[in-house]
């Protein structure tokens, strides 16, 4: 193996370790870093919506589990604050 490839692989491994340590710090532990990479990052998207764009519509389910309504039904009268989230 040439010196060039030894240096390239060495730098790659150092960068990989730095990224892993950074993720551990952000997530809290190596287990959480794995969880972040495996389950969170693939689902997190900045998206393309911008201020001034028409707000997308979507059908939602009411708490009774059977009634449905659309986001658009709640807009138009006053500003609508939308809070996306989950229990956990």
């Amino acid at each position: 193996m040439t010196l060039f490839w030894k240096c390239t692989i060495g730098i790659f491994l150092v960068l990989l370790a730095a990224v892993f340590l950074l993720l551990c710090k952000m997530a809290g532990s190596p287990k959480d870093a794995y969880g972040m990479v495996r389950y969170a990052l693939p689902h997190m998207h900045r998206g393309s919506l911008k201020v001034g764009d028409d707000a997308p519509d979507a059908q939602l389910v009411a708490l009774d589990g059977s009634d449905h309504f659309h986001i658009r039904e709640r807009t138009g009268r006053r500003p609508l604050i939308i809070i996306f989230g989950s229990y956990t």
């Binding site: 919506l49 009411a62 006053r78 500003p79 604050i81």
Partner: protein
């Protein structure tokens, strides 16, 4: 967000949209969820998702209007909303504010600032702030 809702509900409408769980037991569970006894597997069907949403509402007596994203995650995809995100839609149906991706850039204070710029600030005694929970919807912020 409940505090912001209470401060501005006479001026704006609020809608919470419940999306896929962020830290279910079968994916990336957090210690804080175990401590708070918020332990659920990722719902595989709408009935399971509705059941968890109702548990949340009952536990926190959550006062804000609530909608549940369908199991196909259409609202989440349309708004790039997972795991948590805030938007303001103005009266013309356009996006007036787009919050950053949660949890690192999820900032209810930006929504408060948007509302304050329109309707005036509402001040609170800092000592009266509420405790936090591990819930992504953060009923106490």
């Amino acid at each position: 967000m409940v505090q912001i809702y209470n401060d501005y509900k006479d001026h704006a409408d609020f809608l919470t949209i419940y999306v896929r769980e962020a830290h279910p037991t079968d994916e990336w569970q957090m210690k804080s969820n175990m401590k708070d006894d918020v332990c659920y597997a990722q719902p595989k069907n709408l009935a399971q998702r509705v059941a968890i949403a109702n548990d949340f509402i009952k536990r926190f007596h959550y006062p804000i209007a609530f909608g549940i994203d369908d199991i196909n995650n259409a609202a989440e995809a349309a708004y790039s909303a997972w795991p948590e995100r805030l938007y303001v839609i103005d009266e013309s149906g356009r996006i007036a504010y787009r919050g950053g991706m949660g949890p690192f850039h999820y900032d209810p204070n930006e929504v408060r600032a948007w509302l304050a710029a329109r309707y005036g600030a509402v001040k609170h005694d800092a000592a009266a702030s509420s405790p936090t929970t591990s819930s992504s919807i953060s009923p106490t912020t």
